[in-house]
């Protein structure tokens, strides 16, 4: 390799020695302060190595005289966040859940807290959008087995569904009419026809007429004569469009034959009361939430106007 470096005439600067199609490059010296910045970065790294964890050992690393670690930083940030949330949590602890709608700021805080708690504890069954799936209720809709006002949701969350040993748990048990031989298979098919008539999925016919008789004798005690169900015993409404285990003929026959009894943990054993309150507020906000009812009389609902102020800030 021939060294072609030469002194460039107009600038008096040495070239680097390469040449491409007559184009050469000047080897202009760097300013000396630039070199000093390199030494400066080296000095910085030495200081850094002393102050912060830097040198890896086999099982750990050098600690650094500042004692900083990412775990400690995280712990500090979590403590600060807990301290920041403490007033909100204590306000929530002192507010009965029925009173939340009267305090919009607290309600929004509860809903946001519930949103994050939901992602940790609830999405496994109910799904990330709380839309559920077959056997797991959709929490967005306007159909509630056990009641959809704030207090009812809180009770359901606290005590769970079909939890043995919990006196307040939501408990209902439909007999397995087919499997246990209470109804003949033909009767089951007739009842299925009647149930589909109730929900407007089939036209009246001989089968549904026969099924109506069987229904009145076996099913109406829980589901009501019109199949509207009842929340006090958790009996589903059979006349609406919402089916936890499916509303087509095969699914209804399966349900009558075998019955279903889903469960939900009693979250009162696992989560603190404030988190449950927040979860209830969040579930209530999903679109199906109902207004508070005065406990004994479920008829009177105070319908808020649609034009109520929604002063949710930025």
């Amino acid at each position: 390799m021939v060294d072609r470096t030469r002194i460039d005439e107009p600038t008096g600067t040495e070239t680097v020695g390469h040449e491409w199609d007559g184009i050469e490059e000047l080897d202009t010296p760097m300013p000396r302060w630039w070199l000093l910045t390199l030494f400066g970065t080296i000095a910085f790294s030495l200081v850094y190595v002393v102050l912060y964890p830097a040198i890896p050992f086999r099982h750990s690393a050098s600690a650094g005289v500042l004692g900083w670690s990412s775990h400690r930083q995280l712990a500090g940030e979590m403590t600060a966040e807990a301290a920041r949330l403490a007033p909100t949590r204590s306000a929530l602890a002192q507010t009965p859940i029925e009173m939340l709608p009267a305090n919009p700021r607290l309600l929004v805080a509860a809903e946001e807290g519930g949103r994050s708690a939901f992602k940790v504890h609830c999405v496994q069954c109910h799904g990330s959008g709380a839309a559920g799936s077959k056997g797991y209720p959709n929490l967005n809709d306007d159909d509630w087995l056990w009641g959809g006002d704030l207090a009812a949701i809180q009770t359901t969350l606290t005590n769970g569904i079909r939890q043995p040993g919990n006196a307040d748990t939501r408990m209902s048990q439909m007999p397995a009419f087919g499997r246990d031989g209470i109804l003949e298979p033909a009767q089951v098919r007739d009842v299925a026809s009647y149930v589909r008539l109730l929900s407007g999925q089939e036209k009246a016919g001989a089968a549904s007429a026969r099924g109506g008789v069987v229904f009145a004798a076996n099913c109406a005690v829980c589901h009501g004569a019109q199949g509207k169900g009842g929340r006090n015993i958790g009996a589903p409404n059979l006349s609406d469009s919402i089916w936890l285990y499916g509303g087509d003929r095969v699914a209804i026959i399966d349900t009558i034959t075998n019955a279903h009894a889903g469960v939900m943990p009693a979250w009162g054993h696992r989560l603190d009361a404030v988190t449950i309150k927040m979860l209830a507020a969040y579930v209530h906000s999903l679109g199906g939430g109902e207004a508070n009812v005065a406990p004994p009389t479920p008829a009177l609902t105070q319908a808020p106007t649609q034009t109520a102020a929604a002063d949710v800030g930025n």
């Binding site: 000396r32 959008g129 839309a131 469009s241 649609q306 929604a310 930025n314």
Partner: protein, 508 residues
Amino acid sequence: MSAIDQRAGDENPNHIWFEARRRIFPKAVKGSFRRLKWAIMAVTLAIYYLTPWIRWDRGPHAPGQAALVDLAHRRFYLFAIEIWPHEFYYVAGLLIMAGVGLFLVTSAVGRAWCGYACPQTVWTDLFVHVERFIDGDRNAQFRLAQAPWTPAKIGKRIVKHAVWLVIAAATGGAWIFYFADAPTLARQLLDGTAPAVAYVTIGILTFTTYTLGGLMREQVCIYMCPWPRIQSAMLDERSLVVTYKTWRGEPRSHLKRHELPDHPESAHGSALMELAADATGTARLGDCIDCNACVAACPTGIDIREGPQIGCITCGLCIDACDAVMTRIDRPTRLIGYTTLVDEKLASTGAPVVPPLRRLLRPRFLVYFGFWASIGLAMLFSLGNRSRLDLSVIRDRSPIWVQLSDGAIRNSYTIKVRNMENRPRRVMATLSGLPGGVVWNEQGDRKLAGSSVAFFVDADKVAKVRLFVAAPRHGEEHTDFSFAVRALDDEASHDRQATVFERPEDER
């Protein structure tokens, strides 16, 4: 012997890897360009330091500072204009205008930005003047630099750097007033209760101003700034640049320093005139007397007589320096002057020169100007016609739709209504184009729902409202419709946003 060894052996032993800095002591000059620089420095520094203190009444719901970048609330205020984050394209437009403006200015008058308006130039100029005030002019500074460290020298150095640091701190201090209410922040700064970020910002800007303006100076322009490199692509032979008129100056008459007259009227002066007159004869001598006044005045330490170069920021100080000398030896001024390379060539042949303003009327300048002006006009038009109510709609995608117990389908939307007026407003959101659709919000009830909902939006705030829309089960799987919002107090404020209503796939 490998190629590397061979190269190492061929290495020039005198090769310089790093270059020591050449100290520059620019000499004070007087003249028209110096006066122009004073004026521009006064105006730019006044704008920088005083703007945050101008008040502007916007009513009770917005800050009363004329120029304010409110990062905490994400608002940008400039006199009557308020910019929201989603209107950031105005700022982007200003940046594009600034970029095109640089092209425009450069194509017309060369590196005018570098020479007069660049903060690096303005602050360096200020620092140089402070230095001159304390240490004296070029020669005194040079002597002081060579002098041993006597108490007097140490004292001068301490005073100089202290004044520099005060200027630097004031620069950093002024910067933060653009980001908070200036009088409040000033009080907080004095009694020590200002936010830590304010002190840190002042510290950083003090350091950079002191370092870049006081210590680095021309090194920034020559080594750090990308703009001089871009300039070489922006300039052409019709751009105004500071030019030494070789045809007039060469060959130089090498007058010794002591031969330079103090006064043009002196005996030496008339002798010089004879010398100059002699230049018109056969043994022609150029006007340049090689007095080095242009080099001494140059803040970047270059010799303009070597032609256009990257170190020249076109500040025009060499023009003033040379003009003073030309006046003293009774020769025409502007041996160094603003001219284009084309005109320089024309002039050297004695051809008439096009006036600088006429030089502007060329396609390149006009295209840049048209582009620059149309961006500005488009922004002004858009600013004048923007609606102060803005809507954006986000469809909830989980779940996509919800089956309701009576058979209808519900979709949920989160709408954000931006009330950009400084007063609370009642706003109505209306469905349009969704047959059988009803809408309600979290406080509402489907039983009472109609095709619109009304709610309050606070002054200068965004209302984030969750809306539920229900429509009959049967219809298009994807139905396009739109939300329209209007302010009930102001019919002119309205906005509309298209979205879609989703239904389950028809199983039949």
